[in-house]
């Protein structure tokens, strides 16, 4: 099955208003920036971006544009704001969060990873130890009052755990170093991060790849994401960027 799309706009043609889109990447690393740019060009509104650890801080230009275009309804992340409060106050995304124009829902990073993993693996819910003794033991964290959802806890062997639910995105945007036409992917170094778990979690996964290679070139023992999870694959140029956030 040849899953290659030559035009990135064709690959995201069905990402419609109101969709939940998982955006892989960890800060500046492994972020599908060209798919994000295509989403900006398409102008899709009312989007929920389901992130892992600050990919939109890494893709700050794209985030600014999405905010400016009023394309975002909600962002789910573990680290979605600038670390520096000063930088944050100047940031248009943080301003929209302060104003309640965009919802920001926050989870511990490992819990977010488990929520995507649960969706991938047909698991509706899982008990996790993370966050017991913090406010997330009692409810979800969000900037919009009234949107917070109570949490359920349970004691196993004398220790308290929180019940966390699967998070299944409509789409996942993935960035890979190498891919073949059947969608088998390999990532480079720490650019792997959230890419595999989001690729497996979403209903429709779209991968941008820096190197499209012939079938059989990727060593069968070293594929990171088997093609079964990938619906569409788009060759993209490598773009260089500054690797730091504030």
């Amino acid at each position: 099955m040849d899953k290659v799309y030559q035009k990135i706009e064709d690959a995201i043609a069905d990402v419609n208003d109101g969709a939940t889109v998982a955006v892989a990447g960890f800060f500046a690393c492994g972020v599908p920036r060209l798919l994000l740019k295509a989403l900006i060009n398409k102008g899709t509104k009312n989007l929920t971006l389901a992130c892992g650890c600050g990919p939109m801080l890494g893709a700050a230009d794209e985030l600014k544009q999405l905010v400016k275009n009023k394309q975002l309804k909600k962002v789910i992340d573990s680290y979605g704001l600038y670390r520096s409060a000063t930088k944050g106050r100047e940031d248009s995304f943080e301003q929209a969060v302060r104003d309640g124009e965009i919802e920001l829902e926050v989870y511990p990073m490992g819990t977010l990873a488990e929520k995507y993993r649960a969706a991938a693996a047909g698991v509706p819910a899982v008990y996790l130890p993370t966050g017991v003794g913090s406010i997330i033991e009692h409810s979800t964290i969000t900037n919009i009052s009234g949107k917070s959802i109570p949490k359920e806890t349970r004691v196993f062997n004398g220790r308290t755990y929180i019940l966390e639910y699967a998070l299944k995105p409509d789409f996942a945007f993935i960035h890979a170093h190498t891919g073949d036409r059947e969608g088998n992917l390999k990532y480079s170094k720490t650019a792997r991060n959230f890419n595999p778990v989001m690729a497996a979690a979403a209903k429709v996964t779209i991968a941008e790849v820096e190197n499209l290679v012939e079938l059989g070139i990727i060593d069968s023992d070293s594929v990171h994401t088997p093609g079964i999870y990938i619906k569409r694959i788009v060759p993209v140029p490598r773009i260089d960027f500054r690797v730091s956030i504030d």
């Binding site: 890494g58 409060a85 302060r98 990073m109 488990e114 993370t130 003794g133 913090s134 969000t142």
Partner: protein, 226 residues
């Protein structure tokens, strides 16, 4: 409660050096942002493996110039280099090893800590937001075999950070084992905070004066040793 006398302690680099003495050869260690990151400067060449929650074991030193690779950063988004035996993995594997109890030691910064080993670090209410950046901090706390804090003893604005009751949102409850500051080394025990070491030139009373909970003074109280 603010304190008017500014005590002279050891610099941040020396807090990091003191923490590094706690690490055994063969340990797997995760270092948080801030003073904890400086610990890595003191363990180069030792048989200690740094885990970076982005998905890396045997994280090398910071990369500069031609060594910078945009596909290779640590969990603080700094470019780093790899070492012989470096391993990359995805975020699930990363937090499997973190929550699964494979970290010998985790060192975090903190805004506040109390005498029960609860600490606050993920959100500063002064920012005026109901949300904040959690990152991997809560996961690292629940999974660590030893959880250490490395921090300034008193905040820049003079407010005490070692307090009776947290006023900032907690990151974890009852998991902190030791606190390393510019003024002291304090162990969290079931009976309360045990003062074990003080910075050169300071007395136990000096440290108590900037510490809200009553300190238990170790019979072997000594100067911080490096």
């Amino acid at each position: 409660m603010a304190n008017s006398v500014k005590l002279e302690g050891i610099p941040r680099e020396m807090i990091a050096l003191r923490v590094s003495k706690e690490i055994q050869d063969g340990d797997y260690v995760n270092l948080g942002i801030g003073i904890p990151t400086l610990v890595s400067n003191w363990i180069e060449g030792r048989d200690i493996i740094l885990q970076s929650e982005i998905g890396m074991l045997k994280t090398g030193p910071l990369a500069y110039d031609a060594d910078v690779n945009q596909d290779l950063i640590n969990a603080s988004c700094q470019p780093v280099v790899e070492l012989p035996g470096t391993v990359y993995f995805d975020i699930l594997e990363s937090f499997t090893m973190i929550r699964g109890g494979r970290m010998s030691m985790v060192v975090m910064g903190a805004l506040q800590v109390n005498d029960k080993g609860d600490y606050a670090g993920w959100a500063n209410p002064s920012r005026g937001l109901d949300v904040g950046n959690i990152g991997g901090s809560m996961d690292l706390c629940v999974g660590a075999n030893k959880l250490f804090l490395a921090m300034e003893h008193v905040a820049v604005d003079g407010k005490l950070k070692i307090v009776k009751h947290l006023t900032f949102p907690p990151t974890t409850a009852g998991r902190v084992n030791k606190i390393f500051t510019d003024l002291a080394v304090i162990e969290v025990t079931p009976k309360g905070l045990l003062l074990k070491e003080v910075a050169p030139g300071l007395t136990a009373a000096d440290v108590q004066s900037v510490t809200e909970p009553k300190l238990i003074i170790s019979p072997e109280l000594k100067e911080i040793e490096f």
